[in-house]
Structures are given as structure tokens and as C-alpha cells.
Symmetry: D2
Subunit: 335 residues, 4 copies
């Protein structure tokens, strides 16, 4: 079968298509999935650049997020059936409860092989049924970005209707946070980098937007938009570039969910005493994924797909992501 393999971790250029043997016969509890679509995340770029090389396997098949069809199941499998349309979880062993670091790295597309191959064999516990109204391409957008956003919104204490959520930019997590927060009945404020992107985010449901190129003091803008109180929940996506202002934009007793490290880890926290709880978000558990899918199914929510690439153009999908010009998710469709 065809697969993308990283010869080394020297960037997107290290990728090549290989013809490799398909996975062998199924062991107890295992299922075989024909992958139909994948989506790319910033973490895929970082892994291919060697950012986490210590926890990455050789000849890595990259990419964490995939969706496909169950084509075979071991005799003792009870969670899914042949023909089911599923996505794979991001953390193979995180079913529910709190996150535990496994004894060896197990992140899909890093510590274990990812989804850029025609078939995967996984334990039944790693598959989640897709909402019925979603295509494979739409389903492939969910495992990392959407679950991260959902988990951030639920947190230790879920968002309530009438609360204000603040998010940052038009990347996958931020756009899912916007769409999902509206299902919670929240007010959504998003900052973005141009009037055009702000307009697009408003058309997707944002109640307010702030163009942070025009208004660098966006934390003050968020304070003004909330009558001085601050946001109840802020998704900090920019890390070093945004963390201090994210703290200032958030009310005392509110929450700052750390969901990205686009610009490196936070380096200043001088407003931490007059802000809220800070929760680093490690994507989420399978139970988070399944709860979210119920919401997506009931509300017929459709993920925002920025662009679609065929299998062989997977490297181009990554480069487009790297450019930062996307709004929503970038998808790779298998033939």
C-alpha cells in the first residue's frame, strides 16, 4: 500500500511516498481501517522539523488526524462494525479522566505511526464513530483541533450560556472554538490579523472581532467589550506573543486555556494574580471526542474546510498550513 514516510526530520522535504506492506492479520481487539482523509496540524510540521525528535520513531508515517472506513474487525471486537465510518483518536490510550503520560511516547504521527497510509490497524478503543452528516474529509478535521477546542471549552468547569469566550486567529482550533462556543450559548470575541479575516470570522458566528494589527492593545478592547469585566474564558493560542495579554483580557476567577505554542512557550505572566485559572490543554480524551460528536451531530455543525489536497500533494497541504494564510482546516483526501 502507499504511504508517506519521513526519511528524516528535516522538514516537509524529507517526505516521500513509499509502497509498503499493509498491516498483517488482526490481533485480539483490533480493527482495520481504510483511511479516506486526513487533516494537517501545526504539530505535524513541528514533528517533521525535528522539534520533538526524542519522542519520534524512525521512518515515521506522519499526521495524527485521519478518518476512514472500518473494513475488518477481530472476532472479539464490540465497539465498531465493518462499514462504520470512524475517526482515530489523537492520544491512543487516553479514554477518559485525567491525562497520564505513558511510559513511552504514543502520540499518533510521532511516537507511533500516523495516518498517511492506505490502511491502519488499531485497537478498537482508538476509533470514534463520525457524526452521520459529515464526510470523511470533514471527519478528518476533528481529532486534534476540534477536540482541543471542545476540551478547552469544557475544562474543569464548562462554559455556561451568556459567558464570553475570547479566541485568537483563524486556525483550526480557533475556528472550532468559535463554532462550538456558539453551541454552548456563549458570546464569542475573536482577534484576527486583517479586516477581511475578521469579516470572515463574523460570518462564521463571531459576535465581535478585533483586528490586532490595527489595535495592538486587544486585551483592552476585550475588557471594553465586556464592560470592564474581562472574558470568562480565553483560548491562548499565540503563546509567547499573546500570553500576557490573554491574562489581562480574562476576568478574575475566569480561565485561560493554553492551547497552542505557535510562537514558543509563554515567557511573561506578570498579570497572573489578577486573572483566572490557567489550564494547559493536551488535546482531549476519547470521551471528550464522543461528547463533542453528540453536539456536532445534534446541531449538524459543519467543520470549516479551508482547502483540500489529494493524497500525493500532502506536502503542499503542510506548506499551505505553514504559510498561515488558511482559515479553518486543511484536508488531504485519499484516492
Amino acid at each position: 500500500m502507499k504511504a508517506f514516510v519521513a526519511r528524516s526530520l528535516d522538514g516537509v522535504e524529507s517526505l516521500e511516498i513509499r509502497d509498503i506492506a499493509p498491516p498483517g492479520s488482526l490481533g485480539p481487539g483490533q480493527i482495520r481501517i481504510a483511511v479516506r482523509a486526513a487533516s494537517v496540524n501545526y504539530r505535524d510540521l513541528m514533528i517533521l522539523s525535528g522539534a520533538f525528535s526524542a519522542s519520534t520513531i524512525d521512518d515515521l508515517i506522519p499526521c495524527s488526524d485521519g478518518a476512514g472506513e472500518v473494513v475488518e474487525t477481530a472476532s472479539d471486537v464490540w465497539r465498531v462494525r465493518t462499514g462504520d465510518r470512524v475517526a482515530l483518536t489523537y492520544n491512543p490510550f487516553w479514554i477518559g479522566g485525567f491525562f497520564e503520560i505513558p511510559a513511552k511516547p504514543l502520540g499518533r504521527g510521532g511516537g507511533v505511526h500516523g495516518v498517511m497510509r492506505e490502511q491502519v490497524v488499531v485497537d478498537q478503543s482508538e476509533a470514534v464513530l463520525l457524526p452521520s452528516h459529515l464526510s470523511y474529509a470533514e471527519g478528518a478535521t476533528l481529532p486534534c483541533a476540534a477536540v482541543t477546542a471542545w476540551h478547552a471549552l469544557c475544562g474543569p468547569a464548562p462554559l455556561l450560556p451568556g459567558m464570553t469566550v475570547m479566541s485568537q486567529g483563524g486556525g483550526g482550533v480557533s475556528v472550532f472554538a468559535l463554532q462550538l462556543a456558539k453551541l454552548f450559548g456563549a458570546r464569542v470575541i475573536i482577534i484576527s490579523s486583517s479586516p477581511e479575516r475578521c469579516a470572515r470570522l463574523k460570518s462564521l458566528g463571531a459576535d465581535e472581532t478585533v483586528d490586532y494589527r490595527a489595535d495592538a492593545e486587544w486585551d483592552a478592547a476585550v475588557r471594553n467589550l465586556t464592560g470592564g469585566r474581562g472574558a470568562d474564558l480565553t483560548l491562548d493560542i499565540g503563546g509567547a506573543q499573546t500570553f500576557e495579554r490573554s491574562l489581562r483580557a480574562t476576568r478574575i476567577g475566569g480561565r485561560v486555556a493554553l492551547v497552542g505554542l505557535l510562537t514558543g512557550p509563554p515567557v511573561a505572566a506578570s498579570s497572573i494574580f489578577s486573572s483566572g485559572t490557567i489550564t494547559p490543554i493536551k488535546v482531549g480524551s476519547r470521551q471528550d471526542f464522543e461528547s463533542m460528536n453528540r453536539a456536532i451531530e445534534f446541531h449538524k455543525l459543519r467543520p470549516v474546510i479551508d482547502s483540500r489536497y489529494p493524497f500525493k500533494r500532502f506536502p503542499d497541504a503542510l506548506l499551505h498550513l505553514k504559510s498561515g494564510k488558511h482559515l479553518g482546516k486543511i484536508v488531504v483526501e485519499f484516492d
Copy 2:
């Protein structure tokens, strides 16, 4: 000033209008409110029938739920200002956190005087700002029924989008539960007593209704509507008549919120092991009230008012409530 006073606790007939002295000068932290509207609750009927006589004061001014205008504040008051439009909390001393039984009964319209008088003087901690789009009549519907519904939906773990809520009938709590649950992004199933009432509840946003006169096995109906899983949250309003079926209608690991005792306390619980957590709901705290008001304000939610009575016809409002023919809240408007 005019006030309704209960000569005894022998029912609605015990009520009479009296001209009593208005409250005297304000002590520290106190505010004077000109009451503009009240709403009636089943508890008001029970108190007037002597159901809780041990915890009721003499010459009781009845009714817990009122809204009005702040007309005077003591010099040290900082929570409200003259001219503010406020509602009174149901439990005067429950600000936030867990409910504590005070050393003496303090329920408004029971252990302390209620709102059926032209003026009340209370501590500033007992007033909550009305959502700006609501009239006094609408604001007066909130303190007991709406806060109970909100508290039931938040519970120890708030309702999430895509979850299913099951409620019972067209009384104040149930209709608020319906309206508020939609703000949480939930699916709402309500049982009611006729096709007409079911149709009315659908027009208010219910996703599904079950006519329990036509289908006595409404718990099985709820199971069917949820693919056999059961509701995530059930508001049990009927008590003895509904509790066992409420348990059966609720999924394992879900929740049954006990919010009423229309027909006496539950007497059977044989399905309790295969159901969810059971939480008795004691209205809610002031923080619950204020959180709810943010949701009501943001979504411009309008309480459903079944009927309006002038001050002097307060007894008729109570009798209409007793008839059980209302859908939504019954309001008394002051002159």
C-alpha cells in the same frame, strides 16, 4: 402602604389587603425597593395551606418572587443604586457555594415576609439586577422558577451541547428549563398532558414531546427517542407520581434533578441502581441567579407569562395556579 396579609394558614381565603406602616429608616447596607410586580409559585399555595406552618411567621405577607425599583439606599451601599431595576433572591442568605440551613427559617414569603406589599427594605445582598430587556412583570418570574431550572441544568456538572434534557409539564420550572436548556445547546424532550399543551411546548422550542395521557409509559418513550440510552438529565417535577419513571428515563451516569414535590415526596426508587445521580434542587444561590441573568440578557430570552393579574386580584392568581391550567408563569402587577 397596602399589603396582603395572611390572617391564618387556611388557604387563599385567609388573605386580606391591609394598610400597614411602610418600613422605617434604612440601617447599614440596606436598600428600599418599590415593588412593581410579583409572580406566584406552588410553594406560596402550600405555605398558605399550612404545609410548612412550623417555619412560617405570624401575619405573613406572602409570596417569594418580586421585582421593583430601588428608591433609596443606605450610605454604605455599593451593590446597587437608586433607580436600579432589581429582583429579590429567594433565599436571602444564600450568596454562593453550597446551601446551608440557617438557624431559623428564612425563606421569603414563609420564614420572613414576602413581596406582596408596596415597599420592602432588604440588605443590598438580596437584590439582583434585572436583565435590561425585561419588564418588571417578566423580572418577577425569575427568583424561584427560573433559578431552580438554571440550577438544575448546571448542577454539579453543567449540561453540555448535544445532551438530552427531559422535563415534565408546562409549569414555571419546566418551561424555564425548556427555554434555558436550548441556550445550553441541549435537545429537550417534555412530557405534557394533552396534544394542545404538547404543541404549545413545541412552539416554545421543545425538540420532542410525549403526551403522557396517551402514552403512560413515557419513560420508554424517552428511551426510544434517545436510541435506548436515556436522557442525560431529567427534571423530576411530579415527585411520587413520576420519580420511578424519571429514574428509568435517565441514562446510567446521567442525572435526575428533583425540583418539585407536586404530588408528595418519592416513594419508590427501585430503578435507582441503573440510573444516574439524584440531586435535590433547593432553588439556587444569588450567584446562580446572576449567571442566569447574563444568559437571559445575552440571548434576550423572554419568560413565558401565562396571565397577569392586578395587585388586588392576587388571590385569583393563586387560584389559577392551583387549577394547573397555566403554561408558564402567572404574574401580579402592582398599580
Copy 3:
């Protein structure tokens, strides 16, 4: 290898020792455990009596609770190593988070084979390391009774130091609840059936005991012992015989954990409005088990073993349990 097998579900008499083939070679993620000890639970008796026959497999190897040594691991196993001393989880698929009913019954010793055999092969996710100071016999007491007690004490909101816990009798769950609650810094009140048993429970750490044969109104006794306030947490173990009094013994806003159904499900709940939250306890997750083990390890807690039987006398262990004369856990030691 030797195993106990239930020819039918007609009671302890249906059991026989058989020589059966040991489990074959390991699949991915699997481990082989040489079972060293088991402990018996009331549920084992109920299963053997056919109480849950619809969810029980044929030729059942009974008993949920076992401990043993890892003697072989598949090449991809990372959670345990050969030589590790482990116990098996009660619910094979409940890792953490909320309980989900699997599509087919999977309770060990019921829907899947239990531990009364010399070897078991399970997925690595089903094994939990034993606290280092415990023998296999002590470790075998943990999976059902101790995890149930721990889960009941943690609940949706963990017990705090200075709170009062009320438990019932000297069975496995109750004695673990007593021992573990002391680690939480709680005050413990236990009711039991004789002065001798009360004295024994006091020697194990109970702060107060009530002999319910001498004082049938034990709920009032608990109220008195708590200054009228009621227990913060009550473990209801008697079901139909105790539930109503358990409600009355518990403070408003407290919690009643339903942990047993010795006498059938509850049939009356008339005090439910003036009591606390009611939480049915389904044993607990693997994360609960592991958290508990950290507490047991740190405090060098030793499970209370009532009596020990050799493998071949497993039926006698069950009959002793049935007699109700034990205090603590009954253990079966493999040769």
C-alpha cells in the same frame, strides 16, 4: 491448568474444578498473569445464583477479584513488565472518566471469565501494580470492595478532613470505607449488628459505632452524634432495608453513596428532599484504583482479611461469605 467452572447458575454447588487448556499465545498489547490469590464478593454469589444470568457467559469461570504475577508480555507492551505484581481491574474497559455501559456485558467473572484459574491473559490496560508492601492475598482484596469504597469517598466532590462519614456493617466495602476514610482525615461512624462487631470496628479506627440491633433508630443516633447536622457522606449498603434511614442520617447538601444492594433495591425515598445528592457507585475506574493504591502505598494500609482458603476450597469461601459472619475480606490463595 486448573480452573473452577460453573456448570450452571444454580448456586455454589454448580462449581467444579476442571483441567482446561491454558490461554494460547499473546496478541498485541496482551500480558499473561499467573494468578496467586482471589477474593470473593457478594456479586460472585449472586452471579452463581443466576441473578444476572442474561449477562453471563456459559461455563463461566467465576470471581472478579484476583492478583498475580506477570509472567509474559507481548512485544509492544509498555505498562507492565515480567515479574510485576498486579491486580486485575473489575471493569476491564473503564480506564477513567465516566462509566459507559459497553455494548456487551464485560464484568469480570460474569460477562467475561473471572480469575479462578491458574493463568489469565488480558490486555495490559487491565492490570494495576500492587502497592509494594501488600501480599498477593492482600492485593486480591482490592479490585471490587476497596475501589468501590474509594470511589464512594471521592465521588463528584471528595471528602474533606473533618467531615463525617457513615458506613454500614463489617463487609468488605464498609471496612475499606472505614480504613480509607481515616486517610482522608474524616470522622467515621459505623453501624453494626452486635457489641462485639462494634468493638472490632472501633479497634480498626471507627470513631463511633451504633449497634443497630440495640438501637433501630440509628439514623437519629447519627444525627445526635453530629450535633443534629447529619453525616456529610453516607455509604448505603443495605439497600431496601437501610435507604430511607440513610437519607435521614445525611445532611442537606451531603451525599448518599449507594454501594450495595444486599437486600434489594431501595423502595422508599420519602426523605429525599431533605437529604443530599444520591450517587449510585459502580465500583470505579482504573484511575480510581491507581489513585487509591498511591494512598495505600503511602500510608502502608493493610486490608483486613477475615479468613483465607486454599484454591480447592473456593466454594467454602463463598459459603462463609454467604453466612454474613465475616468482618473484612475473604481470600482464596492459589497453591
Copy 4:
């Protein structure tokens, strides 16, 4: 009556004893307390140095923490009685639930007058009964330091037995954290500045100590002591000087409670993604105080008093605190 008054906010030297009029007659809900003892906190020093001058009243009577006897109650008071031994809450209006910033500053000894006077008149809601075994001097240690420590230990998810808590130094909060964490059944690691202080903290119950002058890499020491896992809960007391190492000493999914800012707010947070939730602690609510008192009462815990000063030597008590040589609380006893 005698009172200490700050002529200005220029340090301890600004304090003088004045003879001022005692509080007048009681308003509704008010009680009169004869103050018997006070304790000093670092915040008192900061206020007197003008650190928060914008939220401080003129002619301030300083000091937040006091205990005394109820000597008079208004006729409608029901929470306490004459003769009751009480402490005052730190945040007069925070009863329970989440912290809300009041419209004007209300911190005792800052925005409102403190306890360095013979009599105070407060609302009944601001008094908490002392545990019966404590002296007034011991009771006066509780409102700020002990409640902060308790609240940090409870947090959004209470500490469980067997978890590891890490605290810093021998100040009031840290010593209470040590004493209270032992009631939760936790393992306690404390860092301190000398072998003598470490020995003293061990004698108070610390399981492990690290001399941070001898071992600057105390975060690594904590990791080692926890088998590489990290502490479940870290109380960060040093702020700018300790925050980054506190993050590193804490396990993924654990919690860092920010309880002090001795050296200014944190300025680095580069390990934030591989650490736990961060919760800024604002002392705590009255419900926190009362829950803690139940634990203190049940366990007969005695606060650690470093030294006692008579009323007139209040400035010396503050200077001793400033020296940082204390271990435990510094108390002022009224004549």
C-alpha cells in the same frame, strides 16, 4: 477606645495609637466584637508601605486578622450569640462560591478598617465561630494564612490521600499548608533556607525537606523524591523567584496554587505546557473557613505561633515579620 491608625502609608513608622470613639449602636444584622488578638500578614506590611494605596482608606486601622468575643448582637441576628468566640473573615462579602470583585475595595485592613482596635462592629455574616480548643491568639492566626492554605489544598479538585504536596518556606501559609495537608493524608515536601528550619519543619510533620540554599535545583529534588513524576500540588509562595521551578516540580495534570507574591509577580513560565493547572488563590470564602474549622476542631490541630506581642508592640510584630526569621504565625494579644 484604643486603636492603631496609619497616619500615612510610609511604612510601620506611620503607625500610632489613638483614642477613638467606639462604634455606635448596632444596625440590623450587626454584632459587636471585643477584639482579643490579631495576627500579622505580609499583606499588612505591603499596605502600610503604600503598595495598594489606590484601594486603601484614609486613617486606616490596619490588620486583617482578628479574633474576639461577641459582646452585643442586634435583635435580628441569628448566626451568633453574645459570648461566642469568633474570628473575622478576610473578605467581608465572600460567603461561598466564586470570588467576585466588589465595586469598591473591601479587603479588611485595606479598603475597610482592620482589627487593631478594641471593638469592631460588623455584619453577622463576617463572623466565624472558633474551634473550641483554640485560644483567641490561636484563632487570630486563621483568617488569612490558614484559609489561604486550606483553599489551595481544596482548589477546584481537593487533594487526595497519597498525593504529594510541595510547599515553600516557614511562613504562615506554608506551615498551615503542611499541617493541613497531613490531615488530607498527603505526603508533604517543603523547601526551606537552612538545615535548622528544615529540621523544624520535619518536626512539624513534613515528610521531606529540601534546603534550597544547599540545593538550588530544588525542582529536580522534588522530581527525584516523587520518582520523576512531580508533585500533585505545589504552593508557589515565592512568585518571581520560584514560579518557573514550581512549574517544573509539578506533574502534568497536577496543580500549582499561586499563594503569594513575596518577590513580585511571576515573570517566566516557559515550563507551563508540561506542568499542571495554575490557580491564583485569593484567600478563601467563609464556607472555606468554616469547612477548615471543622477539620481543625476534629483533629485538635494547633496553629504554630512563632511569637506573641502585646497590643502596643504591634509595630514590632510587623518588623519581626519583615525580617523573615519567623516560622509560623506572629500574634498580637490585646490587653
